[in-house]
Symmetry: C2
Subunit: 239 residues, 2 copies
């Protein structure tokens, strides 16, 4: 089996390669790329179907790279391996994973044993495996009705880009008032409230919503950058 490691940190890369070689005897060759663009290229060249992918990388991040790899070879097995358990990454991945592909998500802080297990489960056995830490994150939101649905999340992204209500409405095919309703529930779920204590401080809701979404790790800067590209594309096919 030929495995591609996409990881820009040299220490993590070599650790991964060591663990791979040691834990999976069926691995015959290990390729390496140090950013997303290079990773796509390598995957294409090598006819690779098993990938371990870092998420934060400079030129092109792991999610984008995974998207094109899956677009070209949907049966590829990809194990994501990241420092953070941001919900933003989960949404990004959930959005691009093909119908029945194998993938996994492990934190870099996981023990070597857990990494070995994930490597075997995803790359060899073709299972789906998500780190417990992360799964917890998904659930916790569900309890206090804090979880955003897709439509709210979309509006959040548009808001975060700075679009005015009118444009959001046009883009999402909703009426102005409906967009505003979405915003209201967003404010609610993100905890943008008029604290009964600090009655005095009334905040700018829009900015506050973006702020909260960031500090709760609902979105991150990379999400913003990706959303901006989508927006530009949409504006292009319209103006």
């Amino acid at each position: 089996m030929r495995v591609l490691v996409v990881e820009d940190d040299q220490f993590h890369a070599s650790y991964l390669q060591d663990t791979l070689a040691e834990a999976l005897p069926e691995v015959t060759e290990i390729f390496h790329a140090s950013d997303g663009a290079e990773g796509e290229e390598e995957a294409r060249q090598g006819g690779i179907e098993a990938v371990v992918m870092d998420l934060q990388m400079d030129r092109r991040n792991g999610i984008e790279a995974a998207r094109t790899i899956w677009a070209e070879r949907p049966q590829s097995r990809i194990l994501f391996w990241s420092n953070y358990a941001d919900e933003a990454y989960l949404r990004g991945i959930a959005r691009i994973v093909p119908e029945d592909s194998a993938y996994g998500y492990v934190l870099k802080t996981a023990s070597r044993d857990r990494l070995r297990l994930a490597l075997r489960a995803v790359l060899v056995e073709g299972q789906i495996m998500v780190d417990r830490e992360i799964h917890r994150l998904q659930k916790q939101g569900a309890a206090p009705r804090n979880r955003l649905d897709d439509s709210e999340f979309g509006v959040l992204l548009d808001l975060a880009l700075g679009l005015p209500d009118k444009l959001i409405a046009e883009r999402r095919g909703m009426s102005l008032r409906t967009v505003q309703n979405r915003l209201l529930s967003l404010y609610d779920k993100l905890g943008v409230t008029v604290d009964p204590e600090d009655e005095a401080v009334s905040l700018n809701k829009r900015v506050r919503a973006l702020n909260r979404a960031l500090v709760t790790r609902t979105i991150n800067v990379e999400t913003l950058e990706a959303a901006q590209r989508d927006l530009d594309a949409w504006l292009g096919g319209r103006g």
Copy 2:
């Protein structure tokens, strides 16, 4: 010499320790902490005056840890060692470094040689040393008049927290209109413009400003969290 390494990534930590031991013969003991709070504690215990400090850490980040270390022992020599060249970190550091302390800033992508050099220059020789990559960042802003001055940066933080003009004015001791002027120059410098091309899209300036500040790495999420704490303190002492 006793050196403290504050770094939550185990690989980076052991790489640092190796390099330290090998490059600085005058090092007699190496202590290790894996987050800021622990780092402060260790520094206190060990009577440490030379520190290598990661910036992104969970419980308490490097800047905050450095602040308390310097508060307790201003002559401490601290080498910051980080993945990113965010302007936000530079400002954070510039804000807390005591009058004539030795410090340095090296990127994790720097070569081993450069790291060795920085270790010696800062920890042993007591020099100030900033990675070329980062220095470039500071300059580049200066050319096209993009650089924010301190007063603008303060207003940016308040804006990012969601404060309305009136409160910003009160907090910064400026008139309402002056705050708005600051905002105007902020919008200008951050590139929040009405693109003559896309005349159609008029954006929400405030949100857009925060968005731009984030993607240009002028501020980051940790900045936001720190600013929030400051704000809470200020609100507390006001009633």
